[in-house]
Symmetry: C2
Subunit: 116 residues, 2 copies
């Protein structure tokens, strides 16, 4: 998941910051601990993950739950609103998949033409 | 259009930077000059508009055309790829409109709960 060579930065839609939509996707199948999020999100720093999670919490898309039993454990989960976001996110990803070649061609042509 | 009290920053989807999706929307009905984009995009600086347009050009969503007749004129227009983006953008806006009250409630609750 989220292979370093995956060109997901090409996706022209963003939810929140760079990592937010990937975090939502990681939580799709159920709650995850901080460390369980860090593994699939290769290359994310603890600081970035903390900031993205706080931002998602603040917007009401993710909830942080502390469990005391059997051992102390903190987990992050999608709220119903956060789960709702996955629908339009899927539509955006689908559009990107359909236009993949055009997006890559356009970026390659643009990089050689437009000053950065 | 784009009234300063409009809570469009609530829309949890972004295309490119803060202004990019608004620029695409401004170009929906046809090509526009730089000055014609600046008026509806209240509060945008020339520097930000230049940067956003360059970024949209680089990604192949917008094209810059110079006309020499009848007078010299530079216009910006959507490419077919850029126009295609409006579909999923509409879907994202529609989702946002449907969940407006939840988004506002969640943000208000989040701001009082989660440290910034």
């Amino acid at each position: 998941m989220f292979d370093p060579v995956c060109p997901s930065p090409l996706v022209p839609f963003r939810v929140g910051d760079k990592w937010a939509s990937l975090i939502l996707r990681c939580l799709e199948d159920g709650p995850r601990r901080f460390s369980e999020l860090k593994v699939p999100l290769r290359g994310i720093t603890s600081k970035s993950l903390t900031q993205s999670l706080r931002s998602l919490e603040r917007d009401g898309f993710v909830v942080r739950a502390e469990h005391e039993t059997p051992e102390r454990r903190v987990e992050y989960a999608l709220t119903p609103l956060g789960r709702g976001l996955l629908g339009p996110l899927d539509a955006a990803c689908e559009w990107t998949r359909e236009h993949w070649d055009e997006l890559i061609d356009a970026q390659e042509a643009g990089l050689s033409r437009v000053p950065v």
